[in-house]
Point group: C2
Amino acid sequence: MGSGGKSPSVRGCGHKGVANMGGRYLVCLSLVMNVVLLTSLVYGRGHVRKKGREMVAGNQICLQERDGSGEEEHAKFCRAAGKASSCNNSSSSLPASPAKLPSDAIINLDHGDPKLFEAFWRDAVGKRGDTFIPGWQAMSYFSTNAAGTVCWFLEPSLEQEVRRLHRLVGNAEAAADRHVVVGTGSTQLFQAALYALSPPDAPHPVSVVSAAPFYSSYPLVTDYLKSGIYKWAGDAYAFNEIPRHERGPYIELVTSPNNPDGFKREQVVEGNDGKLVYDLAYYWPQYSPIISSIDADIMLFTASKSTGHAGTRIGWALVKDKEVARKMTKFIELNTIGVSKDSQIRTAKILGAISDAYERETAPESEKFFHYSRDLMRQRWKSLRDAIEFRGRFSLPEFPTEFCNFFGEEGSSYPAFAWAKCEAEEVDDCAAYLKANGILTRSGKHFGVDPKYVRISMMDRDDAFNLFIERMSKL
Amino acid sequence: MGSGGKSPSVRGCGHKGVANMGGRYLVCLSLVMNVVLLTSLVYGRGHVRKKGREMVAGNQICLQERDGSGEEEHAKFCRAAGKASSCNNSSSSLPASPAKLPSDAIINLDHGDPKLFEAFWRDAVGKRGDTFIPGWQAMSYFSTNAAGTVCWFLEPSLEQEVRRLHRLVGNAEAAADRHVVVGTGSTQLFQAALYALSPPDAPHPVSVVSAAPFYSSYPLVTDYLKSGIYKWAGDAYAFNEIPRHERGPYIELVTSPNNPDGFKREQVVEGNDGKLVYDLAYYWPQYSPIISSIDADIMLFTASKSTGHAGTRIGWALVKDKEVARKMTKFIELNTIGVSKDSQIRTAKILGAISDAYERETAPESEKFFHYSRDLMRQRWKSLRDAIEFRGRFSLPEFPTEFCNFFGEEGSSYPAFAWAKCEAEEVDDCAAYLKANGILTRSGKHFGVDPKYVRISMMDRDDAFNLFIERMSKL
């Protein structure tokens, strides 16, 4: 549960804690009551389950057989293990947080599924985040665009709320002269950008590069259709070593803050003969101080990471050049004939609810999404650093303190992923080591670097995160 | 408006009709009152407009500069013409049907935008087709699948309603051993099928063929990324003439009923060394008698054509082979990391509303979607045949009478498109001829055949359709 993310760990609440009749007892009693009340609240929402063993199983964290990159593999394992109904249970109802997960549960932190924000949208926002769609609405392929809109399937309410949110946050230039292109997640927009920037009739495919460690999906998504117009060419640092006249045309992906390591980035390949695509999925105040409003040619964002609504599959691009926006729109037309109107309408509602809270003078901080989520991420990073601090078996990136224009104060970064390194000499494969200890992560090898590194999602629900911290503190 | 589609034409309601004080006068008066009442009803739903000229402009049918295939071009023209707000106005509210469209309005019947069903979902279904999504719901990438579900992002409610609807209609085998794969429209599933059926390491791309006239998007969607694993190879009849040992591996798309001509189809390429993909987007009772339950390896469907909800971008595939379903799922994972949960949830609601009405003993026929929509299509086809009958300048396909298992009676086909041929000797380019007469259609050349043919959408709203009929009757 979300609020639990800011609560103290329940590790001290064993028999000893109960036996101790001092202040610790009261804290534990209060925590147990919280769990009981929250459980009752969740199950009261039309969700009936049996007690005891089944309830625990229903909230068991799912294990996975590998450390690879496919989301599908996760579900595959769940089915094989006969735990399907307990593996991915966020889409239609929130699960209860049982007092204790099975001590041998395997924790899957391979994926960046942003489930940690569910509680905010249920408890803090109330009806303001709800969406209602009559049966006759949004039936057409087309949207009612304003004059000048390049993306013919973009819902006007989404365009409006996207621009409004960027104005509020100040993370990217989204004035009226920037074209908004909506996509089925930023993954589709990434491909749309490659399509738009690659000449259709060049003799060789354009090289696509990104500085290692790079997002593990980039090579897969670039090459799965063996396109004749673009191809994955690996690490941008290595590409930069190639003499300029031998390079050929290229596209550099600048992911800032970076997935997996959380650092802010600039372009790596020197010269101005390449095209740049800025993947800004994580450039939001909960993850990283907003130090400037980025003004790049193509900037990609996604609801998955900005608000936590991965299931809507809504991303958007801010694009300077009209012809590039037109070609990106064409890609999406050919790929999926537009983007779900329902999810666009819903995302507009969600983004609007965030902006509204910041405009509502009476709104407490707990209703302000970026304040809430920044506090939650900060708390989680503190827990993780505390857990591994004294043993020295793992290291984490250290982020600079920067002035965040949005919060109006100095702050650090609290990325969506922890990019950890196994420091123990005898451990060559950090993901395998953690897996043997019941924690599934994604190996550094998928990000183009050493398997001594792993990417760990910081975005799972509290029960999983707390068990992860408990386990890390013992390694 | 939908009910108007089943009403007699208002062509007789000119001054002469008003002058005639007999029964015809009463019919016309009644029609005018209907229009006034419907207009008032629509504008009463929170939709405020000014009167007079602006109202007419607000419902003007948009013209387009070309007869090509891109939906985007439509919007482009609308913007260029400064008519953006009146071009694509179906997504957030239904437009009123003004008593008379401007006599010089250009009618765009190039696209198959299924707006004719809007009125059903507003008037006949009521709240049963509405969808409500709380802000915290469906945030995860994952769905809560049943054990054995290959498609990890498929919402269980959609899977259930898809199987239920196929059981009701009897158009395709959808028993539990067939895998359901959901897609962002059937366009994405078409590409997923190509990906799943093409060996990743073959020396040459697999040939993709379909019998001409074939759906105009197939060549574009197959080739836009210049894939190294599949390529468009044109008309299946021509491909069949190639000696078998020279053909190489191929995939044949069997579109039945066919887009553009509406005929039922079987495979064309002889032999069993190819793979088949059945595009059954139009194999629903409103378009074609259901003569058997199809049992092919891969069958594609879409909400756009089955229920008229194009804006949801939901399609589904029924797949026999588990490994093929797994690869199709992998494609969608790489392409868009799943499919909008919101639209899946909504489509489940919509499909459920259709099935429910057929199970509700008290439901009148007007609430039964396939009865309603079959009657509407039949009426439209009758209007079109009546309009062109005596002049002989156009011909239309003649469909056999077949026994429809769903309706339990003999019936004809009433396809979503009219595949018309200009019979006049002096007309070589039928689309250009119709365009000169204010009707935009899609030329036969985009479907791999003679430009004496055009594809005309039968699915626009009543006001556009009625003006189209009026115009055709005068050509």
